[in-house]
């Protein structure tokens, strides 16, 4: 939907005034753009969840139609009768049952046998490769999400364009394009307990940097104070999830709630990133219940709550889960699994061409495996990330986002609706 910039500024501004936000920022954003402006609520957003520690894709999206799965995992396989069947061959782990509704309405897709062309089984290296987007190359300085922001500066004018939730900026967002690390929306800004004193100190620093002239210090500080102001008006302490959404307790639920809040505040959020750990299940992984089941339950409940909370706004949101590699097909001597190769990822949201398990399934037979033990990679993760950047966020130059690799539309899985 295209509308003239004037109308956009006016209506966008009005919409924001009703939310208590500053229309000035939007005016700047609109004029900065070389393309026809979109309404802030129509801006696409990508939410990335990194399952650090290597999630067991085989117990997340269970190949219950594969006899080898049950042969190799006598103690930890999810029994066929407790799997939430998707297509007769694959099914959701029972802990992910809250997501079945999204599968049925075609806004949830699973991608199986996806991973890195690099064979490393080191968490550290594999996470690095997935975040820099350059498997096998360790010296890449910036992350692919940052490089996307570098090459496409359409809405570079909001401080909230790329936000990582956590104390530090992760590799995926490291680089020269501005990006924010926010540990807690409610505590973002200067840490002074009293509001009046905090406002005063904020104004004082703002004035100090106003005199700093031009350059990165001046522009970054302006963005920072703008962000503080925008957040103050959006008043994160007063946020209530919509549609009775009930986020599970814990870090993941809290983070997704804050992402939902930023999306609804129309501050220009384009890429949000969050970590969720606890997937390195070497010991006592469990099957329908147990360690992994508990982690998946939290993930399923948090994603379902996020979807419910955003309601109609999910039409422009894609949530993508990712993990550095998968785990061994065969269970180990400690009722767990060791580091493997391919894993599974989830994509959900309005733009997702859901209700399907995407990616070519390589099978679990010995000769079909990677190095005789792991699920083989049939989809390079860059093909999935590239498709979402191109078809959902509108990236035009994937070559600079994934240097040394040419994502090709021919290899896209069709995860985003055409």
């Amino acid at each position: 939907m295209t509308i003239s910039r004037r109308v956009f500024v006016k209506s966008g501004g009005l919409a924001l005034v009703s939310l208590g936000l500053d229309p000035l920022f939007l005016a700047r954003a609109a004029f900065a753009s070389g393309r026809p402006a979109v309404r802030p609520s129509d801006r696409p957003t990508l939410v990335c969840l990194f399952q650090r520690g290597a999630v067991d894709g085989l117990n997340m999206i269970v190949p219950h139609g594969e006899p080898a799965y049950y042969q190799e995992r006598p103690r930890i396989a999810v029994p066929a009768d407790s799997v939430v069947d998707l297509d007769g061959h694959f099914g959701l782990h029972p802990s992910l049952a809250p997501l079945k509704e999204l599968w049925d309405n075609k806004s949830l897709a699973a991608i199986h046998a996806i991973g890195s062309p690099d064979a490393t089984r080191s968490h550290f290296d594999a996470q690095d490769y997935m975040e820099t987007g350059t498997p096998g190359v360790k010296s890449t300085g910036d992350g692919w999400a940052n490089r996307y922001c570098q090459h496409d500066r359409e809405h570079a004018d909001t401080p909230f364009r790329a936000v990582a939730f956590g104390p530090q900026l992760p590799r995926i967002l490291a680089g020269s394009a501005p990006s924010l690390a926010i540990d807690d929306l409610q505590a973002f800004g200067l840490r002074v307990p009293q509001e009046a004193a905090r406002d005063r100190l904020t104004r004082a620093f703002e004035e100090l940097y106003d005199g700093a002239g031009t350059g990165l210090l001046a522009s970054s500080s302006r963005e920072g104070f703008e962000a503080v102001q925008m957040l103050k008006r959006a008043d994160p302490t007063q946020y209530r999830p919509a549609n009775g959404a009930d986020y599970p307790p814990g870090r993941l639920g809290k983070t997704l709630l804050q992402i939902a809040q930023l999306i609804k505040a129309d501050v220009g959020l384009e890429i949000a990133f969050a970590d969720c750990g606890g997937w390195d299940t070497h010991v006592n992984q469990g099957s329908s219940d147990g360690q992994l089941a508990a982690r998946l339950r939290e993930l399923g409940l948090a994603l379902a709550a996020f979807n419910r909370d955003l309601g109609d706004r999910m039409r422009n949101v894609v949530v993508l889960t990712m993990s550095e590699f998968g785990r061994t097909i065969r269970e180990n001597g400690n009722s767990g699994t060791d580091h493997g190769h391919a894993t599974a990822m989830l994509a959900l949201g309005g733009p997702v061409n859901g209700g399907r398990v995407l990616g070519r399934w390589p099978g679990l037979a010995l000769e079909q495996r990677f190095e005789g033990r792991d699920v083989a990679v049939t989809t390079d993760f860059r093909d999935l990330f590239g498709e979402i950047l191109a078809r959902h966020l509108g990236a035009t130059d994937l070559g600079t986002v994934f240097p040394g690799y040419t994502p090709s539309a021919a290899r896209f899985l069709g995860v985003v609706r055409g």
């Binding site: 990006s179 200067l190 100090l208 580091h339």
Partner: protein
């Protein structure tokens, strides 16, 4: 010779007063000025002070030596730490087995067998802060930080949790102002680097360990938890990681004109450069059986079944290649002169390198006597890294850091957790990497926190006088008129002198003037 240089410089730098020059030198060769230090260096003579810093061995550092005794990490050698690490890993494995048998994994969470290593990691970081803030050998500390990043090792990767302390103490620190080729060889012979860049598991294809070693290799290679299942698997081929980073980062540079085939040949030369298991002290070892005995040809050289000497020969060759001299000199100039350094100082550094075959002091001296170093545009033009920001604030306010990890945590919160850069590039030097809106807000918060502890500035009732004092002590009189007027305005209705001091110092440290060096 040096007198001549001083005179030559005096003619070239009319714009910098002796105090300006002293402040500039303290900002770049040191972590900023302590109270009164600008004047004392200016009186002593800035070029003479620079010479003293280059001759760090003869600078006495007794106060720091006394403070270092508080850090128990310095009393453990690599063997002690390896033993403790092995015990901790075993304890964790025992708890894991127990958890697998009972189905109860709460105990393993409560017992925290690896807790000691987390604490030692925090101690190591804070030790870096204490040294940077208190050492009289400031240039040495700056160069330790420079090489620690140039030859980066990530403390969070498996065995590097216990290998890093000896890497810093025994590999980097003694050579920070020595010769580049010796430093390069020392990093290559360090177990920390061989583990970090995976060379420890690089073996000639088809090679097998001699029988007595085989079970050791097969079962518990390095006692590391990074890839537990791999302990049961023997490495089967070459690993190119170290070879690639050696050429790209440590020596020639990314545009150094080498090919993928060169990387493979270099990796073959380094097959067998490995580490002992933790039970045996986790030291560096050259494994003859794992070394590729075939002919390797790279950079016009031929290496033929000469064991470990092949690697040493290659490192010596790389250390004095023009591409290496240029790459490392440009990085040094980015650190000391400007984010995008002018050619003049780089050329001067390369010439000194060539002449002395990589004497780091000579290279640095060439940079510090280059006219580019002393131009007025070069002063106060570089944004401080988080480490430089926090340590310079501690020095300017005369706050002595204690042995708790709190200032190291502050540096981490600003985005530079020490020794925790996973990428072999190390932390970046340039402003684009450190200045962003969230990071600046974090610096303002850090400034206010540090200001609370600042008692070295008298709580003067007269606000104008207070601001003048702060300007002199923190910024050597370089505070902008705008900053002064904003601070004065903010102080207008503050009656409590202690409160006024904390606010004024916080605004000065968190404001734009103090971000630069």
């Amino acid at each position: 010779m040096h007198l001549f240089l001083v005179l030559a410089l005096a003619a070239q730098m009319p714009a910098l007063t002796p105090r300006d020059s002293a402040f500039h030198a303290l900002n770049r060769l040191a972590y900023g000025a302590r109270p009164g230090e600008v004047d004392s260096v200016a009186r002593f003579g800035v070029m003479k002070w620079i010479e003293r810093q280059l001759d760090a061995d003869h600078v006495s550092d007794s106060h720091l030596a006394q403070r270092e005794r508080e850090f128990k990490i310095l009393s453990y050698d690599r063997g002690d730490l390896a033993g403790r690490y092995r015990d901790a890993t075993r304890e964790r494995q025992r708890l894991q087995r127990e958890a697998a048998a009972t189905g109860d994994s709460t105990r393993i969470r409560d017992a925290h067998p690896m807790q000691e290593f987390r604490e030692l990691g925090g101690e190591l970081q804070q030790l870096a802060i204490v040294r940077a803030a208190l050492s009289e050998r400031q240039l040495h500390e700056i160069m330790v930080d420079f090489w620690t990043n140039h030859f980066n090792v990530f403390v969070g990767k498996g065995a590097d949790r216990f290998l890093l302390p000896s890497y810093i103490e025994e590999t980097i620190r003694p050579r920070a102002l020595g010769r580049f080729d010796e430093l390069l060889i020392a990093t290559a012979e360090s177990p920390a680097m061989m583990f970090y860049l995976d060379n420890a598991q690089s073996v000639a294809p088809g090679s097998t360990p001699p029988r007595p070693l085989r079970s050791l290799f097969a079962r518990r290679r390095f006692g590391m938890n990074e890839m537990p299942e791999d302990r049961r698997r023997r490495p089967t081929g070459i690993n190119e990681n170290y070879a690639r980073e050696l050429l790209e980062l440590h020596t020639l540079g990314v545009d150094g004109g080498y090919t993928q085939q060169d990387i493979i040949e270099v990796a073959r030369i380094f097959t067998g450069w490995s580490i002992e298991p933790p039970d045996r002290g986790a030291g560096f070892v050259f494994r003859d059986w794992a070394h590729d005995r075939g002919t390797k040809r790279v950079f016009g050289l031929t290496f033929d079944d000469d064991g470990k000497d092949e690697g040493i020969r290659l490192l010596k060759f790389l250390a004095n290649q023009h591409a290496t001299m240029h790459h490392v000199s440009a990085k040094l100039c980015a650190r000391f002169v400007a984010d995008e350094p002018p050619d003049g100082c780089i050329d001067a550094a390369v010439a000194a390198w060539q002449k002395t075959h990589g004497d780091i002091r000579a290279v640095l001296r060439a940079i510090f006597t280059s006219p580019d170093f002393w131009t007025p545009q070069a002063t106060r033009s570089k944004v401080k890294t988080p480490l430089e920001f926090v340590v310079s604030a501690l020095r300017a306010t005369a706050i002595e850091p204690d042995d708790t990890p709190r200032f190291a945590q502050l540096v981490a919160r600003l985005g530079e957790p020490l020794y925790q850069q996973p990428a072999p590039t190390g932390y970046a030097e340039t402003e684009a990497h450190w200045v962003n809106s969230g990071a600046l807000l974090a610096r303002m918060n850090a400034a206010m926190a540090i200001a609370k502890d600042c008692s070295s500035i008298p709580a003067i009732e007269d606000h104008a006088q207070l601001v003048e004092t702060i300007d002199r002590q923190l910024l050597a009189g370089s505070m902008s008129a705008h900053t002064k007027s904003v601070i004065l305005e903010q102080l207008a209705d503050v009656t409590d002198p202690m409160q006024a001091r904390a606010l004024a110092v916080g605004l000065a440290l968190g404001g734009p003037d103090f971000q630069k060096q």
